[in-house]
């Protein structure tokens, strides 16, 4: 203790500042404290603000995708008129003329004068003749009766109805001219045009590039479903098996280290690299079909495996060693101890992790672009269950990308609508995971 005793510095006179008076320096420091805290609050606020903006723009832009504008016209077509139309050289044109006539008449009854302009009607309602002809050829007994015929309006009219398109911002094109809006306005006044729920968007398949109105996400929901089925059936057993090995059996050696390093690294490899892997290995090398949910599922399985393994190992680790000891003490083999006791106890945690992994896989897009699940118009649904895995199809996120990449702005609305559907699925899965965790969570 020599240095304390030779301490040359004498104790300064004790400061007698009162504790009840905050000195200037402390005030300054407290101000800095407040500022610092405010930064934190700002950061949280910024994060939540972004979330709100995102949510608002999704909902505001996406909801119109769920409605569709339809025009309903009541008219009667007699047998004679039918025969006459069938006798013409351009049959659908005759039907169109008939329909246009009926439309003008309907408007006239309501006291609205509209010039019968076949081109304009076509821009508003599409090729009405074909639809009409199909209807009467399929239901000949409807001839001579009055029918209430509903036709969906084109996507531009849709846009006009829900405010995306206005007279100010529109430009004349082959899709819609300003004068056409007068007719639409007349229809609105007559009350024959209305918005209905667009079931086709939820159940239908993608449409051609110039028909945003007819595009639906249904086929790609089916594609995503098949993909998730593949991911679930592969990643759950493989993930659980791998985790059991690493957590319960693996010796401490180089091989185990190698696996561990690989898993933690794969979890951080960009998803597009998995797409390249899928393209090169599954399609180029193994000749599996392009655009098939099977291949998509395989790629996503490889991608989600690290996530699932990491969460599964955490739940296995959470089971206290005393449970294993108890089983081993009764003479069970290690394998029996794990499969009979540890695994069932860890199952809720494993399932929660798996659902979250699946939700991640469901929203993944980039790898799907590379294996061709994009820009593809699925024609009809898969016929059989098995062919659903190997027939070309799209997936929800890939479909959304396809729409976003198209030139026609009508598709943007569909893309936002698709996002709403996708997020509903994700939300459901996450809520399921939370419920599972709440219900079965066990504290040791």
């Amino acid at each position: 203790m020599s240095d304390a005793t030779i301490d040359p510095v004498t104790q300064p006179a004790p400061k007698r500042s009162s504790l009840h008076q905050t000195d200037a320096r402390t005030r300054k420091r407290n101000a800095a404290e407040k500022r610092f805290k405010a930064y934190g609050i700002c950061a949280i606020a910024v994060g939540i603000f972004f979330l709100v903006v995102l949510a608002v723009s999704i909902i505001r832009s996406g909801l119109p995708a769920f409605t569709q504008t339809v025009v309903s016209v009541e008219f009667t077509m007699t047998q004679d008129q039918f025969d006459a139309a069938e006798g013409e050289l351009f049959k659908t044109k005759a039907y169109s003329a008939f329909f246009n006539n009926a439309l003008v008449e309907t408007l006239k009854e309501k006291g609205l004068e509209v010039e019968s302009d076949a081109k304009a009607f076509e821009r508003i309602l599409g090729k009405t003749g074909g639809t009409l002809r199909e209807f009467y050829r399929a239901n000949p007994d409807e001839l001579g009766k009055e029918v209430d015929f509903e036709l969906s309006a084109s996507s531009r009219v849709d846009g006009y109805m829900n405010g995306r398109l206005t007279r100010d911002n529109m430009e004349d094109s082959r899709f819609l001219e300003a004068a056409d809006l007068d007719i639409v306005d007349a229809m609105i006044t007559a009350g024959i045009i209305k918005e209905t729920f667009n079931w086709n968007f939820i159940t239908g398949a993608d449409s051609g590039v110039d028909n945003p109105g007819g595009a639906g996400i249904g086929a790609s929901v089916v594609g995503s479903f098949f993909m998730m089925l593949v991911v679930l059936c592969l990643s759950l057993p493989i993930g659980v098996a791998a985790s059991i090995y690493l957590e319960e059996f693996a010796p401490q050696n180089k091989f185990t280290d190698l696996i561990e390093v690989n898993i933690s690294n794969l979890a951080a490899v960009p998803s597009i690299v998995f797409g390249i892997l899928g393209l090169a290995v599954f399609i180029q090398f193994m000749h599996l079909p392009q655009s098939a949910p099977l291949v998509g599922g395989l790629v996503l399985t490889l991608m989600t495996l690290p996530t699932i393994i990491i969460s599964t190992r955490a739940s296995l680790k959470a089971v206290p060693p005393s449970i294993r000891d108890a089983a081993l003490g009764l003479g069970a083999s290690r394998m029996q101890a794990v499969f009979h006791h540890v695994l069932p106890l860890a199952m809720p945690g494993i399932l929660t992790g798996t659902i979250i992994g699946l939700a991640q896989a469901l929203g993944e897009t980039a790898p799907l672009l590379l294996i061709g699940m994009v820009g593809f118009v699925a024609r009809g649904y898969p016929e059989g269950f098995i062919s659903g895995f190997t027939d070309p199809n799209s997936a929800m996120p890939a479909q959304i990308y396809t729409w976003a990449a198209r030139a026609d702005v009508g598709f943007y609305e569909k893309a936002w609508g698709g996002i709403i559907i996708l997020l509903i699925f994700l939300l459901t899965m996450n809520i399921l995971a939370v419920i599972l965790r709440r219900r079965f969570e066990r504290r040791w």
Partner: protein, 265 residues
């Protein structure tokens, strides 16, 4: 001494540094400290002893409002430092802690150099006007912490690289650097080996010249060696507070006697 009540200056004419009156501490529903009144003298080593969980550390932490960092903790009663209520609304705990420094059970040097560890307090309190000032303070504090000779050649090495005993002396030096008036020590030797303990105890004896030192300890021998006054806590109550020699030779409470002789605790 402003308008504080005239305090009885007993025994050997020491000033009263801290005066606690009917202090109650609650952790949520638990009543951790019950009705403790104690007067801690200046330039004296006061030891708090008692069995585990008796509340001696909790009480120590109320003396510089370290309990403020725990949400569920409530303190009632008066604690006066030089006659001023430290739980008064106007008191900034930051200013208070500059006057009442604390050393913890486990050495906790910051992940910085030895020099920066010591300079941390003076810097935040603005005690140095220049680099030279700071150098003087650092050297002085390290000397007072009885560690200067061991570290003077490696002031810029990380403080975490020292041995346990050195780390604890560094922490004491760090606490001394802000020139506190009271030094609280919460079992400062419990993580140290006997040799390091002896060094720290010797240091505590030195520190008594300038500070009022309050030390919580599990070791009765240590309390007997370093302190002049001893307080015995039991189940949140202050059972007995007296001169150390009296407590260890002739305790007036039988619980104290049981503890000293090893029957409880």
């Amino acid at each position: 001494m402003y308008d504080a009540p005239k305090l009885e200056t007993a025994l050997d004419q020491q000033d009263i540094k801290i005066s606690a009156d009917k202090v109650q501490v609650y952790y949520g529903e638990t009543h951790a400290i019950k009705d403790v009144s104690v007067e801690i003298e200046d330039k004296t080593v006061t030891a708090f002893i008692g069995p585990s969980g008796c509340g001696k550390s909790t009480f120590l932490r109320t003396l510089n409002r370290m309990n403020d960092t725990i949400d569920i903790c409530r303190v009632q009663g008066n604690i006066l430092l030089d006659g001023e209520d430290i739980y008064h609304a106007k008191v900034d705990p930051v200013q208070l802690r500059a006057k009442v420094g604390m050393v913890f059970q486990k050495p906790n040097p910051f992940p910085k150099s030895i020099y920066d560890n010591i300079a941390y307090g003076p810097r935040i309190h603005g005690l140095a006007n220049s680099k030279a000032d700071l150098d003087v303070i650092v050297e002085k504090s390290l000397r007072r912490g009885a560690i200067w000779d061991e570290v003077k050649d490696r002031l810029h090495a990380p403080g975490t690289g020292l041995s346990g005993g050195q780390q604890q002396r560094l922490c004491i030096a760090r606490a001394v650097a802000t020139e506190p008036e009271v030094l609280l020590m919460d079992e400062p030797c419990s993580a140290l080996d006997p040799i390091a303990t002896a060094q720290v105890e010797e240091l505590i004896d030195e520190l008594r010249k300038n500070y009022s030192v309050v030390i919580v300890t599990h070791s009765m021998q240590q309390a007997a060696r370093v302190s002049q006054k001893t307080a015995f806590f039991h189940l949140g109550n202050l059972v007995e507070y007296d001169d150390t020699s009296k407590i260890f030779t002739n305790p007036s409470d039988e619980r104290t006697e049981s503890y000293i002789t090893g029957r409880i605790g």
